[in-house]
Amino acid sequence: MSRELLKGNVAIAEAALRAGMTAYFGYPITPQTELLEHLARRMPELGRTFLQAESEIAAINMVYGAACTGVRTMTSSSGPGISLMQEGMSYIAASDLPCVVVDVMRGGPGLGNILPSQGDYFQVTRSAGHGDYHPIVLAPASVQEAVDLTILAFDLADHYRHLVILAADGLIGQMMEPAELPPMRDLSDERPAYALTGAKGRAPRRIASFYLQAEAEEAYNLHIQARLARIRAAEQRSTEYFTEDAQLLVVGYGSAGRIALSAVQKLRAQGVPVGLFRPISLYPFPEVRLRQLAAQVSAILVVEMNAGQMLEDVRLTVAEHTPIHFYGRMGGAIPVPEEIENALLKLLPTEVLS
């Protein structure tokens, strides 16, 4: 395989179908629409299911239906559409069904705008709908990583029978970069043991999330919590740069993490002992590694394209042991490396600066 120049949205779409996605349901919304458009052509070519739904509400429930049949299925949207999908995502999660949801985040709240943002961090990591659960959330920082994490998203969804959200900001969706696509995986004819295929020669199968008795609902909740504990133990993902001897640590994910890397590289060239920690899984938050790094640095700067949402997870992880500062831009504004450099320089003791 060779690298091709690909737009993020197209790369995610193509990676999804190569990962064996059998059914896609979506609704147009900027800045993710190219994803839907690519699949509108490709899925029928491959004899697979593509449908533009009448709303995001319908789209996620079509995904819910397709997931009941045991095939790989996906939808994609951006903030306002993800808001509408909250109900369906909660039902899917509560039915132990795997599926992938792509959120190409835009500026909000409200109608907001179509520019890149990370304002959906709370929405996607905290529960994605009502009730006690978290989806697995993965955040790419490049088109190549978006491809790789799309494949991983389907694998994790199937492995844990759990909802996985690919949280890409609008920059990742709209940017073109060289990336290598994976080979096409064969579709399996086999369906998992929960799949609704018609009760021919077997007992009926039923998929629901309805427990009238408190004890039964609590037992089911404990089952979800046990799964989340396994996910937290096994699926914390992150990458890091210049952390070995770092005394200052920047924490940023997605495009904000990537922009912060430019600032860190420039300061490193000047001899400033700064490193970057970039979470790849937003849920589970990579707290084990961050806690280790926090013990070695004198201060942490969290950089996000929002008002400080992952900041809360950093605080929960690091507690009061290390001072935590924040730099963020909102509403579609993208920080440039110099802004992050300046924010870092303010944290440095004078003797390091001189």
């Binding site: 449908l51 429930n61 819910y64 239906g65 009941c68 049949t69 018609g198 009926p204 998929i207 629901a208």
Partner: protein
């Protein structure tokens, strides 16, 4: 002692009535006098007669029929309120060989799920919708529905419902994707027999891949109407039939040939 009574009968007995295979034996939670049980039985009988049980997938609603997936002896799932047609679309598109059925009440289908049912019908999704219309929200305790009659007093329309009931069969019948849309009633045996025939036809429409099919069933809610079961059946005849005339609203020519 009369030995006659102890003599075994030698004449084989013919089974004239039994539980349909497609219906489980567990008791339902429906109120006494509610016609959901009749609707369940008709659907199960029709599935048995067409030998479709092992191919069928039921999408249950939120509402009084929320446990329907438990009562039928076939694969089933539970949709969010009003979203059954979208869920059914997802299932049917992936597995067109299955017979996909939604079972929905009037709050589910005509209110919160009005968008989903409209677009499923417009797309001509090859699914079968059993629409149970009792002009009220049952499970939540008798609130006004879009199908409530003008002036109908409910716990959320204590001074009488304003406006006119939404007639879903009439509304959906104008869509080209709709192949078979009829309204029947469950208030007496003659109408129940006609309802059974309509459900059979609707399932055949899906088997033949002719498009979207829906059977609306006028149904009773004695509990929330504040009536006895016999009074409730009379209420359907007196009050619902004028607002919701039974009849065939859309029957494609191809359906008549089935």
């Amino acid at each position: 002692m009369t030995d006659l009574l102890l003599e075994p009968t030698t004449v084989p007995m013919e089974t004239v009535y039994c539980m349909p295979q497609a219906l489980g034996s567990q008791p339902t939670h429906y109120c006494p006098g509610c016609t959901h049980g009749v609707a369940h039985r008709l659907l199960a009988e029709a599935l048995d007669e067409l030998n479709l049980r092992e191919r069928a997938i039921l999408v249950a609603p939120v509402g009084c029929a929320v446990f329907a997936y438990q009562y039928f002896e076939m694969d089933g799932c539970e949709a969010p309120h009003g979203r059954a047609p979208a869920m059914a679309t997802g299932i049917k598109r992936v597995q067109p060989e299955n017979i996909v059925i939604t079972y929905q009440g009037d709050g589910d289908l005509a209110s919160i799920g009005a968008g989903e049912i409209l677009h499923a019908a417009a797309r001509g999704e090859a699914i079968t919708v059993i629409f149970v219309n009792n002009a009220i929200y049952g499970m939540t305790g008798g609130q006004v529905a879009p199908t409530s009659l003008t002036g109908q007093r409910t716990v959320s329309s204590p001074f009488g419902r304003e406006g006119v009931p939404l007639q879903m069969s009439e509304l959906l019948s104008v869509l080209p994707g709709a192949a078979y849309i009829v309204r029947r009633s469950l208030h007496n045996p003659a109408n129940i027999r006609k309802a059974k025939k309509a459900i059979l036809t609707a399932l055949k429409v899906q088997q033949a891949g002719l498009g979207f099919g829906m059977v609306e069933l006028l149904s009773s809610c004695p509990t929330n109407w504040g009536l006895t079961p016999p009074q409730a059946l009379q209420w359907i005849e007196t009050n619902m039939l004028p607002a919701f005339p039974v009849g065939d609203y859309k029957v494609l020519d191809a359906v008549k040939e089935l």
